[in-house]
Symmetry: C2
Subunit: 232 residues, 2 copies
């Protein structure tokens, strides 16, 4: 009784591809455009085929299935994360930059949020990110499993902060009526006096700005907490 394996594009050799016609790169590029334009829901093999002037099922020559295609585009996205030079940066700077950049990348490609955890992240870009992060943490003095734990804590915060945010945006649309939403929340909270009181006092803020401040607050707190784990 062997346990389950899992399949990943990165674990099998690609096709020979002496190809004169379409190529995997071309398909990935087109998929990325479609995803950015219309979201995860907007990417279908038929639409992608149409964009490339090909039959939908022709794509299955280059890619085993839709998940493999998504794995490819997913890694492309992690390649957009910008990091400071590993060697010169303090670990806090590095971690902070990485967190901010990951967040920006997810905000720029909201569909990617739905793939986090659902697909293996074994592509070169994803691995390179974790590799550099781990090296920095090690030179900073983290030892053994603490390297994994610290990384997990940081990425968990970024994901947990950003995933619901983009989920909300892409399910509710972009154009908010801020005072109206404030009002709605206040009305929903009418059975909770303290909550309702807070809503009554607070001014409706620009949520974009609020999110950024909140993210910084959380990030700094976490880095402080991790640093405390370091000195002992």
């Amino acid at each position: 009784m062997t346990g389950k394996q899992f399949p990943s594009v990165w674990l099998r050799e690609p096709r020979k591809t002496a190809s004169p016609g379409r190529s995997r790169d071309e398909i990935v590029r087109a998929a990325l455009e479609l995803l950015d334009a219309e979201g995860l829901h907007g990417l279908s093999m038929r639409k992608l085929g149409a964009k490339l002037v090909t039959g939908a099922t022709s794509l299955y020559w280059y890619v085993a299935n839709k998940d493999e295609l998504l794995e490819l585009v997913y890694d492309e996205v992690w390649g957009e994360v910008r990091l400071p030079e590993s060697e010169t940066a303090h670990w806090r700077e590095f971690a902070s930059a990485m967190a901010h950049s990951m967040r920006q990348v997810i905000l720029r490609h909201p569909w990617s949020a739905d793939l986090i955890g659902r697909l293996p992240a074994l592509g070169p870009s994803a691995l390179s990110l974790t590799d550099r992060m781990r090296r920095i943490l090690k030179t900073a003095g983290f030892r053994g499993a603490d390297v994994d734990y610290a990384t997990a804590t940081l990425t968990a915060f970024v994901y947990g902060f950003t995933i619901p945010e983009v989920a909300w945006k892409s399910s509710m649309g972009e154009g908010y009526d801020i005072p109206a939403m404030h009002d709605i929340a206040a009305r929903a909270a009418r059975d909770f006096p303290d909550l309702a009181a807070d809503f009554a006092v607070e001014q409706p803020q620009d949520p974009q700005v609020m999110r950024e401040v909140a993210f910084d607050f959380g990030l700094v707190s976490i880095l402080d907490g991790l640093e405390a784990r370091l000195v002992t």
Copy 2:
């Protein structure tokens, strides 16, 4: 030019329901069972109708659309979070208990992870949670927007730690071959010497246990970081 509103079950009066037949509660209960048994993907109006021995479209008498139904079940889930008595608990105990309980609830109802952020959480259970959390933080000494920020940081960590976890489980299935997966990851990392070296050294661990330890590590770090924000 008014901005967009958003619709929520909790913001409109329910039907009169002098009903002798089906009821909203009954539907929600059946939906919850279906979701726990077959996941978000497994809940369709047709299946739900079949389970209740009703036509699929009959359900639309009690519920405006599928999202409203999901909102109802979603809040049901937050009602399962168990908290210590507000008045006697230290804020760290309280926050820690809340984080752990939220995590357990999501693990118990993995489909709920996909709804976080996608649906408004304005039900009584969800509001009660945030209400109690905020009250505890205020009595602990957090002031103004810091109450929001601290809450956001904590929930972000829980979500970000747990969402990818359950996404992985429900996309890859439950039965892992741990050494095999360890091997696969090591093979994928062959182009990153340090990463590969770490894989070579580390023993494959029981992931269940690992996750729990990592969660505690992160949680404690975050609470430390938040506490530092408190004393100033």
